[in-house]
């Protein structure tokens, strides 16, 4: 599948920001089942490319001139293939470390216990049951949680968006001794019900890393593009930054993912134009 992605984020500030540093994880991962055909980042200031410990491409954006607006655009085409189980990048056990966003409290632990034997016996299929039941427990509900909501809070409220689903699923896995990692990326959907900027989970089961999308209760396929993996949202989110000055901030983000059905034909046409 060829997916054309356009991801624009605009930050606006009441008063000028004198200095800001952002970590951008806005380039698709170089994994065996996805290939970047072309990709382009547009942003102000200077940027430097680094690779973090998880193999994510990471740009460091530094702005030291006063600005009232920061506009970041990531766009390009990614070719995706049927997913293959992912390999280890760093030792798998590291993904059992609980973080403050993925700590299991008593309620999550009690929930997890119901799946312990199922997962021990059926591995990946047990985790699929967990995924479906978790979505029943906390239906997709936008606007009630934010990026800093920890797993125990969204679980107690019985609602959340993709990052909450991912955090609770991770908390359950890690509590049961299963390494699990957060994935941020893009999702192609034919309707606009879910935002195209998405998060899901990979868990180490049956000897390999398999993906689980709790918010859609499905197994990720060619419609998914991986940007970054990490221990949790903070570790893998597309933009993490800090600024000095600026007063109140408003952020507008828009992501569009289109499928290019006949990519070669499409390219030829583009060249002819």
């Amino acid at each position: 599948m060829h997916l054309e992605i356009h991801h624009e984020t605009i930050y606006r500030y009441d008063t000028p920001v004198s200095h800001s540093v952002q970590l951008l994880r806005l380039s698709p991962r170089r994994d065996p089942d996805q290939t970047t055909v072309h990709w382009q980042l547009e942003m102000p200031g200077t940027t430097d490319l680094t690779i973090d410990a998880y193999g994510n491409e990471q740009h460091v954006l530094t702005l030291d001139q006063p600005v009232t607006e920061i506009r970041i655009v990531a766009q390009g085409v990614v070719e995706t293939r049927p997913p293959i189980p992912q390999r280890d990048v760093i030792p798998a056990l590291v993904f059992r470390q609980a973080t403050s966003l993925t700590t299991a409290d008593d309620a999550i632990k009690a929930f997890a216990h119901n799946y312990q034997r199922l997962i021990e016996k059926h591995g990946r299929h047990g985790l699929m049951d967990l995924m479906a039941d978790l979505l029943d427990h906390m239906p997709y509900t936008p606007g009630q949680t934010d990026a800093s909501t920890p797993a125990q809070e969204s679980f107690a409220q019985r609602l959340g968006v993709c990052q909450d689903h991912a955090h609770v699923f991770i908390a359950v896995c890690r509590y049961l001794g299963i390494p699990a990692r957060y994935v941020s990326g893009y999702l192609y959907t034919e309707n606009d019900h879910h935002v195209a900027s998405h998060a899901w989970v990979e868990a180490l089961t049956d000897g390999a890393w398999y993906a689980f999308d709790v918010s859609n209760a499905c197994i990720p396929d060619e419609r998914y593009v991986r940007l970054a993996i990490g221990l949790d949202y903070l570790d893998a989110c597309p933009v993490r930054g800090l600024r000095r000055g600026g007063g109140a901030e408003t952020m507008v983000s828009h992501t569009r993912v289109r499928s290019i059905l006949h990519f070669q034909q499409h390219q030829q046409q583009q060249q002819q134009q």
Binding site: Q22, D64, I90, L93, V94, Q97, D235, R240
Partner: protein, 475 residues
């Protein structure tokens, strides 16, 4: 003649042997002491206190809500260590720190020691001190703990034991330096009678170690402090001043082009080595604790790009964790193919059910410590604890066994110390500082701590401990 309380027959006293005769290496000091009047010695102690106040060498106590700073009591009777004992300690410390550095390199790269089954992989990789940001990162000379403070005690059996390795931001070296200066000022004649190995070149060695840690030509070194609210701020300022380098806080530094710069009146200046005296989790809000205002955003990206050295490295805490401590002798055998020269204290890991049940059955005899605890907080000393305290710890252990280790209660050696009643034996330890650069170097001496309360085994300054000057006699 001074009134000297005799030490217990069961323990080891640094000055008096079992028959209460003076050990040979203390003889010249003892003779000198007897020639001084109590009035003169009292006068000198008052002088020391006044001088320390003037220097401003104070310490704010953790958990003291008033936030008051206070002076750590200084005792004028030195701990004296004979040359041949120091030679053993020095060799053992070098060996131990070499193995700990090899371990840190290994666990952030190939994990040979885990694959060989010498240490359970889970204990290292699921450890809260293991930092994924360090995975696969190559550091200059493969060094992680450039500065290590190793706590050593002498047990009643006369042997030295390593009690704890401190590989994160070990503190206390300013006391080693200031205490020596004080002793030389108060009692210059003592240094004519004794060949005491000098310690005052420590800042020079520290600076050379920090410079060696970078591949840059003529590297710029800074000391980074969390700020003046930190209990060790005095030491941060002191070391920066002694080394002649800048003392900075996070807000004085910024990252651009994956390089670290400090703001100066003459414009930005690139920094090559940061001797950082704040914990991993505060160092870069974009990677670790997001609400930390003490760190530098982007620092880890610059670090991973190889453009700056952090001393110590990120993630060293996994090697000085008390749950990893029992494996240090195995690390020495594994990486160096040598037998350990220094003894480890036998340790029960409460995470193992059989060891937990032994610990629970013997709580009144054991010392129980939190795996990540420090500063003498969160520990139980069985023989000194009340029934209620023991039962409290029994509940804690049962609720979260993996969070605790237990050790036999060691009878730390004693050293004569000035107390209200005169001179009496008090328990002591020693923290030498091991510097790893192109070579491993140790200034002969260390932070000598003393538990001032009679019978107390806790030497931490936060728990009412004091300090002494530690003399290593030259051969």
């Amino acid at each position: 003649m001074h009134q000297i309380d005799l030490p217990a027959q069961t323990g080891f006293d640094e000055m008096l042997d079992r028959d209460h005769s003076i050990r040979p290496h203390y003889k010249p000091f003892f003779d000198w002491l007897n020639a001084q009047t109590p009035a003169m010695l009292g006068q000198r102690r008052k002088e020391a206190e006044l001088l320390f106040h003037r220097v401003g060498i104070t310490f704010s106590v953790h958990g003291d809500e008033s936030g008051n700073e206070r002076l750590i009591p200084f005792d004028t009777i030195p701990r004296i260590i004979p040359a041949e004992e120091w030679q053993l300690l020095e060799a053992g410390l070098k060996q131990r720190v070499a193995a700990l550095n090899a371990f840190l390199h290994d666990i952030y790269h190939h994990q040979h020691i885990l694959k060989a089954g010498k240490i359970p992989a889970e204990q290292v990789l699921v450890n809260a001190q293991y930092r994924s940001a360090m995975c696969g990162l190559d550091l200059p000379h493969n060094l992680y703990a450039h500065i290590a403070g190793i706590d050593i005690i002498r047990h009643g059996d006369g042997n030295y034991y390593v009690l704890e390795d401190n590989l994160r931001v070990p503190s206390g070296v300013s006391y080693m330096l200031e205490n020596r200066k004080m002793m030389m000022r108060l009692f210059p004649e003592l240094f004519e009678k004794h060949a005491v190995a000098p310690v005052e070149h420590y800042p020079t060695l520290l600076l050379s170690t920090l410079r060696q840690s970078s591949y840059a030509d003529n590297p710029t070194v800074v000391v980074m402090t969390p700020g003046h609210y930190n209990s060790a701020y005095f030491e941060h300022a002191f070391l920066a001043q002694q080394m002649g380098v800048e003392l900075v806080e996070g807000r004085d530094l910024f990252v651009k082009d994956l390089k670290v710069y400090m703001r100066t009146t003459a414009g930005p200046k690139q920094v090559d080595v940061i001797y950082r005296r704040l914990d991993d989790l505060f160092i870069d809000p974009l990677v670790f604790q997001a609400d930390s205002s003490l760190g530098v955003p982007g620092l880890i990206a610059a670090y991973r790009a190889g453009n700056v050295v952090l001393a110590n490295a990120i993630g060293t805490g996994v090697a000085d964790d008390k749950s990893i401590y029992p494996y240090v002798p195995d690390m020495i055998r594994f990486y160096l193919d040598e037998e350990p020269l220094l003894l480890n204290v036998p340790t029960w890991q409460c995470r193992n059910p059989s060891e937990l049940s032994h610990v629970l059955a013997n709580l009144d005899e054991l010392v129980v410590k939190e795996v990540h605890g420090a500063g003498g907080y969160g520990m139980l000393i069985g023989p000194k604890a009340s029934k209620a305290e023991i039962e409290h710890f029994r509940d804690l252990l049962k609720a979260n066994p993996a969070n605790y280790i237990a050790q036999p209660t060691l009878s730390l050696s004693t050293c004569p110390t000035f107390v209200e009643e005169g001179i009496a034996p008090r328990h002591i330890d020693l923290r030498p500082f091991v510097l790893s650069g192109n070579t491993v170097r140790i200034v002969p001496g260390g932070l000598a701590r003393v538990a001032l309360q009679k019978g107390s085994l806790v030497v931490n300054s936060s728990q009412g401990g004091g300090t002494k000057d530690a003399w290593i006699l030259e051969a």
